[in-house]
């Protein structure tokens, strides 16, 4: 729906999810890689566990649907080409160390001078300014510094980071919002903007960590699976695995006791209808509740509780999630046709538009696969000119 919006994606692992999402929202995304290729191409996991330049599943997920061109922006000719491309672009996404593009004379002021309507979004660990701006921020550093890790996991064990590179993904989602805000405002003003997105701050918007500490003088600490203010609301064991049971309201609690006909009489105490009382007693309540949940298989318990309006879902492995009838019927997974990886199954965009799941994104591009198309279409460069640039390792 937004296929006339052109995005140049210069990001590394930090910002590639942003380009992926913009592409899924309908924009044309051209990935600008160094001539040696994006290092993400060599990151595991690999198809069939065989490392190779075109077999990274991480690269495929983050870059599926994008076009790829190669360009060495650090060389004068390459710099000029990027400026020429950006005259035709609506958005530039980048995640270089702060100041790097400016050091090549490719900062926002230069890009906007050539194209006042350009939107440039920078996604970095700590943002473009401030005392930590140059601190290195692989995902685990950003998620730790953003406060999400400290509150996650078993209190008896070290704090635990979420799987994959969630800090990068979450920061990228904020960057996407920044891009859309700037594009939306541009429709009125005609002028683009620079967006500075801090991944640390994106993570720090979650879970009330700052407000709670600022208000109470105490930090939220790890509680394992136990929800901070609802109980029973945790992971409970069943015969064949686990469920997450979430007993929020008084009616949920009463419905649970009604179903659990032989529950211990201590649970009939009237004060337990009050959620804060239940939460205070969670360490005592949870083992009792687990004696009940252990009588069932997880699907059986889920159905029994949901029929009574009590929120409960199984703790799935990724495969179990994919095998759920709900997931299958909603066709989350679709076939991606890709030259490099062959046809393969992949998760699609998580939203349905007017009842339709969007077509799967394309597969991952080969390095420089779209040089001719992009440089030809946008800059009118003929194949022999491209050949010459290629020989000189500019593209």
């Amino acid at each position: 729906m937004l296929d006339d919006v052109l995005v140049l994606d210069l990001t590394d692992l930090k910002g590639q999810f942003a380009g992926r999402v913009l592409n899924d929202l309908g924009m044309r995304v051209v990935k600008v890689e160094p001539p040696g290729g994006d290092p993400c191409r060599r990151m595991p996991p690999f198809k069939d566990d065989v490392p190779g330049d075109e077999s990274s599943l991480r690269f495929a997920f983050l870059n599926g649907g994008k076009e790829s061109i190669t360009l060495d922006i650090a060389r004068p000719e390459g710099r000029e080409l990027l400026l020429d491309l950006s005259r035709h672009a609506d958005v530039v996404l980048e995640s270089f160390p702060p100041g790097y593009l400016a050091s090549l004379d490719l900062g926002y002021d230069v890009l906007s001078d050539r194209n006042p309507s350009i939107v440039v979004a920078s996604v970095t660990g700590f943002g473009q300014y401030g005392p930590h701006k140059d601190y290195l921020a692989p995902d685990i550093v950003a998620v730790a510094m953003g406060g999400l890790m400290y509150i996650s996991g078993d209190p008896a064990l070290p704090p635990t980071k979420p799987p994959e590179t969630q800090a990068f993904f979450y920061g990228s989602l904020f960057a996407v919002y920044g891009v859309l805000l700037a594009l939306f405002a541009r429709e009125t003003t005609g002028e683009g903007r620079h967006v500075d997105c801090s991944i640390q701050e994106s993570i720090a918007t979650q879970e009330h960590t700052i407000r709670e500490a600022a208000t109470s003088g105490e930090a939220i600490v790890r509680h394992g699976s136990q929800h901070r203010s609802v109980a029973p609301a945790s992971v409970f064991a069943c015969k064949d695995g686990y469920v997450f049971l979430f007993v929020l309201g008084a009616r949920h609690w009463e419905a649970l006791l009604e179903l659990w006909t032989d529950h211990p009489s201590v649970l009939d105490a009237p004060e337990l209808v009050d959620i804060s009382r239940r939460r205070a007693l969670a360490p005592t309540l949870n083992p009792l509740v687990e004696e009940f949940t252990r009588r069932f298989e997880r699907r059986e318990l889920t159905q029994l509780l949901q029929e009574r309006g009590i929120p409960c879902l199984p703790v799935n492995t990724p495969r179990e999630f994919l095998d759920e009838e709900q997931t299958r019927q909603r066709q989350l997974v679709g076939v991606v046709s890709s030259g490099a990886l062959g046809d393969y199954l992949a998760p699609r965009f998580p939203a349905l538009f007017d009842g339709q799941r969007p077509a799967p994104s394309g597969g991952p591009p080969r390095r420089g696969e779209h040089n001719e198309r992009v440089y030809g279409q946008l800059l009118g460069l003929a194949p022999d000119a491209l050949e010459s640039l290629s020989v000189r390792r500019v593209i």
Partner: protein, 399 residues
């Protein structure tokens, strides 16, 4: 006063909990007029209960900043009619009720688009608006469990899945929804058409596990939790530091960083030790972790981070909420902001992680007391007389 990013955009927010309200807050704080519609007749946001009174729930306040509060009793036909009148004057409806709830009130997507043809409607259900489990009751942690996130968010070889106490699926949906809204509004300017979006929070959570799902779908693997480790970096973990529950993460991605680390921890002899160079370091993870922990335990977490970062080695304190509040970098960026609330007083909370070269978010303001914008909506937006509003208040229509 510079032009707000989203001035002129009107959003009706029928939301509860975290995901829907945050989407509303994000749109409102950039200048959209967001009408949060609730009712005293059994239709209050569930998060209002986390406080002494419904207007003083800090958690509710935080996720509903900058929105307007309207009370319409949707159990009465006139309440429904007024909601439709408000929708007719709006651009977007966001809702995160259980699928079927609005349809049962005669407020299905097609009913809403019947009063405003080019309306953008965003449903944010837990498991989706369709499918055999669509009507299941879900809250963030149950969706994390269902999607595979809880299973994966653990140390390796734990005896049971733990995950996090938090509600990551809500936060994902909260930030993606405003982008979907704006992309639909930009497209609408070109096509004149509205859009109905069904964003299943669980699908979004799975999308954020895309690489892991490819391991299942393409390779047929059964991915296991890896905790704080990485398949291609050692050291890459969370290390105990001096003090109580103090930790610093360290992630070394190449030999250059490894050599710098050896120098910082006073073990330069290890810099050329072949056991710890290149891929050999991946095989000797336990030895690396042991010698590194031996050093980190003797230093404060902030010192570990600062010494290593100064030498070009990625490291970061596992910051608690108190650390965030005292973080000088966040302070220099003005990230933590203060909102005034009539009952709770000054509240310090997280602002926006976005800075723009021109313009900014609107000043953050507490959402007003329940129903405080009723007069504005009924008289100014919908054009009724004040006497009519008073009658509706007596009849518990505006309630």
């Amino acid at each position: 006063m510079p032009h707000a990013f989203l001035s002129g955009v009107r959003v009706v927010s029928l939301t509860t909990g975290i995901a829907g309200p945050i989407a509303g807050r994000l749109l409102a704080s950039y200048g959209a007029e967001v009408f949060k519609v609730e009712s005293r007749a059994g239709g209050l946001d569930a998060f209002r209960m986390y406080g002494a009174d419904p207007d003083a729930s800090p958690r509710f306040v935080e996720v509903n900043l900058n929105t307007r509060s309207v009370t319409l009793n949707l159990k009465k036909p006139r309440g429904i009619a007024l909601l439709k009148e408000l929708v007719a004057r709006s651009d977007v409806v966001i809702e995160n009720f259980r699928p079927g709830v609005l349809a049962a009130l005669g407020l299905a997507s097609e009913d809403l688009q019947a009063v405003k043809e080019d309306l953008v409607v965003i449903h944010m259900p837990g498991l989706g608006s369709t499918g055999p489990q669509a009507r299941y009751g879900t809250w963030g942690p149950t969706l994390a469990a269902y999607s595979g996130l809880t299973y994966l968010w653990n140390h390796p070889r734990g005896d049971r899945p733990i995950g996090s106490q938090g509600v990551y699926p809500d936060y994902l949906a909260g930030i993606l929804t405003p982008s979907i809204v704006l992309s639909a509004l930009i497209a609408r300017r070109r096509t004149g058409k509205g859009r109905v979006v069904d964003l299943a929070q669980v699908d979004l959570t799975a999308y954020a596990l895309g690489t892991t799902l490819l391991e299942v779908l393409v390779n047929g693997h059964e991915p296991e939790p890896v905790g704080n480790t990485s398949a291609y970096a050692v050291p890459h973990d969370c290390y105990e530091c001096a003090g109580d529950d103090r930790w610093c993460v360290i992630a070394v991605e190449d030999d250059e960083q490894w050599r710098a680390l050896c120098s910082v921890i006073g073990r330069s002899e290890l810099a050329e030790d072949e056991r710890f160079l290149g891929v050999a370091r991946l095989r000797n993870r336990d030895d690396v972790d042991a010698l590194l922990s031996d050093w980190t335990r003797r230093h404060e977490a902030a010192e570990v981070m600062n010494l290593l970062q100064a030498a070009g080695v990625p490291a970061g304190v596992v910051q608690s909420g108190l650390d965030l509040v005292a973080d000088t970098h966040l302070e220099a960026r003005g990230f933590i902001e203060t909102v005034q609330h009539p009952v709770l007083g000054a509240i310090r909370l997280a602002g926006s992680p976005l800075k723009f070269s021109s313009g900014a978010h609107e000043p953050l303001s507490s959402s007003p007391p329940l129903g405080a914008d009723n007069a504005y909506v009924i008289t100014e937006v919908l054009g009724y007389e004040r006497a009519q509003l008073e009658r509706w208040e007596e009849e518990e229509v505006v309630y």
